[in-house]
Symmetry: C2
Subunit: 295 residues, 2 copies
Amino acid sequence: MLYGAIEAGGTKFVCAIGNENLEIIEQVSFPTTTPIETMCLVKEFFDKYLDKLKSIGVGSFGPIDVNTTSETYGFITTTPKEKWRNYNFLDTLKSYFNVPIALTTDVNAAAYGEYVKGYEKKISNIVYFTIGTGIGGGGILNGELIEGFSHPEMGHMKVVPHPKDSYKGNCPFHGNCLEGMAAGPAIEKRNGVKGQDLSEEDSFWEIEAYYIAQCMYNTTLMLSPDVIVLGGGVMQQDHLVKKVRNQFKHMLKEYVQIPKINHYIVTPKLGQRSGIIGGLALAEKALYNARESIH
Amino acid sequence: MLYGAIEAGGTKFVCAIGNENLEIIEQVSFPTTTPIETMCLVKEFFDKYLDKLKSIGVGSFGPIDVNTTSETYGFITTTPKEKWRNYNFLDTLKSYFNVPIALTTDVNAAAYGEYVKGYEKKISNIVYFTIGTGIGGGGILNGELIEGFSHPEMGHMKVVPHPKDSYKGNCPFHGNCLEGMAAGPAIEKRNGVKGQDLSEEDSFWEIEAYYIAQCMYNTTLMLSPDVIVLGGGVMQQDHLVKKVRNQFKHMLKEYVQIPKINHYIVTPKLGQRSGIIGGLALAEKALYNARESIH
């Protein structure tokens, strides 16, 4: 019995096959080009496993329509990637593979991977942020994905500008929202170099940490999750998570009793595999749900 | 068969008895004084119904410990009301009444009331804010209360100061968080009169709406609930909800497709009874859970 997983990113697709322990058996990745070309490679990869493939879990770039009662359920909707706009992702997959398929956002999938495999379901409330070329957030509450009328767009929350920061933000929708102030491109715009080329001692990191800490603060007060996981390229600066923790504690003023800080604001247990393992975990869940609905 | 409900507020307690349709049969209220005095009146009220009382639901002022695995589960913890600090609320009630008892925050109870009775569970994601002498938020996601390591404290989220507002905020913890800028006392501090005595045309209301709209914006992007309910004394200014909706739309820039605005940001369907009816609904749930755990 095998599970399939797709991590559909704006720049690359990752496909994987995993076993019942959610361990990856084979994994491939290729650039995201046109839907026809890209989906053809997806089909080719999973076709090798068709006889044992039981279900597929997908974490996708977005925005996607996750509302099961909607006419465009399973579509990638208003993405700036023109060729993928209003693309019926889910039905295309269904036309290839006659197995249960679960679809959610890339960050929800990563959160689910951390929940199921990273934390082995020992806690049931996790929020996951990716801080990279954009900022996205997803989560699990009471063991279920956070999805209401749509999936969350936590990366666009409002933040208070840092007193020493004159940058106006580059979010095309909201200007100086969290993503507009703290994602990779905003770091590069201010400093002239990418974050990875800024020294650990650069004073800019305290400004960056200030914005991420506000996100941790709001997330804590809105959701009081058991853990907040910080992934994505920007967080690969090892020193950054400590700076975020310090500024977060300073903001919170011990107003609520959080879990121990080093176990509360953390980097992913699964490293860069949260999303793809989350896909396998979603596949497992899709199979379980499909069986339940038969009985 | 009767349900009991307690709305335990910082200034007054409301107790009610309701039937299986969650309709209130009798209701009393009295000022919150000392725990001994207040709880004595609680006991007296419900004692009349002991033979038919099946369960009790409580929405309490806080902070309270809602973590069932904690040693201080069911305690009112670090409240500024000294006599109630570290008060074992749940065990006191259990010593009086040998029935299942559910305890959560006042705002969670109100959210639950709107969910069960206001919306008859036709939607499963609701966030409820009370904007009064303080600001509190609670909610339901996938039909379950939002509770992680603790209950949310949404009223203390960060807000961006309005360009025309020089007020520094009065939250003893965070200064200019949402509560520090937009709760009743902050309105009075700026204007010299209470909100209810400010004319509808006063330009201050646009400043007030700006802060509440930020809360709506962050809540939308963090949780994408089906509806956000705005209760509490400040929201009794009928004109305010429209101003909030307008500013919210302006901030969101149609970044996500929300439900129709007049059905999305709303005042409570149950008026001022959301909390006490929520208590009855929590009692119903507590009874159901207790029966399930026997089978």
